[in-house]
Subunit: 224 residues, 2 copies
DNA sequence: TTCCGAACGTACTAGTTCGTACAGATCCAT
DNA sequence: ATGGATCTGTACGAACTAGTACGTTCGGAA
């Protein structure tokens, strides 16, 4: 739960300092996610922490520095989830479904992450590109997928013309959309995609979708 | 192309006035899409038009009023596309594929629309909800889909436990993601989803995905 | 104790941004 | 042509916002 402390480097910092930084990051995450980068107010963030604006600049240097720290923190979290997935002993199709459901579960329970990704895209990923950590470490999902897909293709149950990045895209698209476009979708179609009553069927649908697409051999490249 | 004039009500306006408004709307669309609502600068928009800031306030009243006009304009455009789709004479699966591809084509060629939808979601659709026009008229897609799905279920080729709104969600998710998350995706996975070289295969994949999911009877509710 | 640097608080500045007052131009009907 | 309505340009102000100068407190080492 409060694993946020592990996100902060603790090179000879006092306990109090670490807590202050964690406090700021937590509030800043909510503020940036809710209002966008330009819409977020440093004064507002400061007011909601138990410390002051001076501390934000003391620890993070600038509004942009704070935003970057927030971004790295939420990406670190999804990395942790990805590393925890066990699919070695599952059949390729069950593994695929498990991966899809794990992504769905993460995204639907981490609204701030999805909102920050949206915001970052509005700004053409200019901040994300500055973070070597994020760029270096966030391909875990692809490695896992590659393994599963290879196995499925070798077993002859998966089509062979769709690669891991494409599958990741399909899964992410479905899971992201639920959270990212929740409000316009609800306004127009009068259906809250995160309504708990729909969760089970939506969770099943993302698995159905990716498994059905990959096991559909109608578009296979190889000669039968 | 320059059908933007039709977006502006022309109750006894001079030709020049209509052009001025269209000019402002075009520039404002780009500015809001590129920088978000709070990040957009009224002065910057004014500077890029052939008129002045005074005119923005004369015609649109406020920054928010301008943003709302921009939003209605891009939604009106996708409505026009949806109304132009002919699928009456297609088989249910071909019709589904055609609808999916049309959505894909629209979204991938109207980046500003997708960006504005993202921005609107960051703000919890607060502006969109103010526009009765958008809320009233933007369910055309669903009506079309309902018809097709009914036909497919009746013919026994579609599963019967997924409704039109769900299918629309799947299609929109895939198509939106390509544009909305283009930059973070490219930064992390080094693949531009809008690369023309990939367009054909991605266009096929959205069709495969929705058709495979709907024709997959493994999860059917009805007894075989 | 004394000292030192890390951690913190207050009050302020410099610059930006939305919006407007006011003055002028243009068009059109009578 | 003339009065009035519709447009347009300029210059400015009030409010807000990121960032900082400067001083204080606290904890531990010598």
């Amino acid at each position: 739960m409060t694993d946020r402390l592990s996100d902060v480097r603790d090179n000879g910092m006092t306990e109090r300092a670490i807590r202050t930084q964690g406090d700021i990051l937590e509030v800043a995450t909510a503020e940036f996610a809710a209002n966008g980068y330009a819409g977020a107010r440093v004064d507002e963030i400061a007011a909601r922490t138990r410390t002051t604006k001076r501390m934000i600049y003391y620890y993070f240097g600038s509004k942009e520095g704070l935003y970057l720290a927030v971004l790295e923190r939420v990406y670190a979290q999804i990395r942790r989830v990805e590393r925890g997935i066990q699919i070695d002993e599952l059949s390729p199709d069950d593994a695929l479904r498990t991966l899809a459901e794990a992504t769905y579960d993460h995204h639907t329970t981490h609204e701030a992450f999805i909102q920050l990704v949206s915001i970052e895209n509005i700004h053409r990923a200019e901040h994300l590109r500055q973070s070597e950590t994020i760029l270096r470490e966030n391909v875990t999902a692809i490695t896992l997928l590659e393994e599963v897909i290879d196995r499925g293709v070798r077993d002859g149950i998966f089509r062979d013309d769709v690669d891991a990045v494409d599958v990741h895209m399909m899964i992410s698209a479905y899971a992201c959309f639920h959270v990212a476009n929740r409000h316009t979708f609800a306004a127009i179609f009068d259906r809250d995609m995160l309504d708990p009553a729909l969760q089970e069927s939506h969770r099943r649908l993302i698995g159905d979708m990716v498994v059905a697409t990959m096991t559909d051999r109608r578009n296979d490249r190889r000669v039968p």
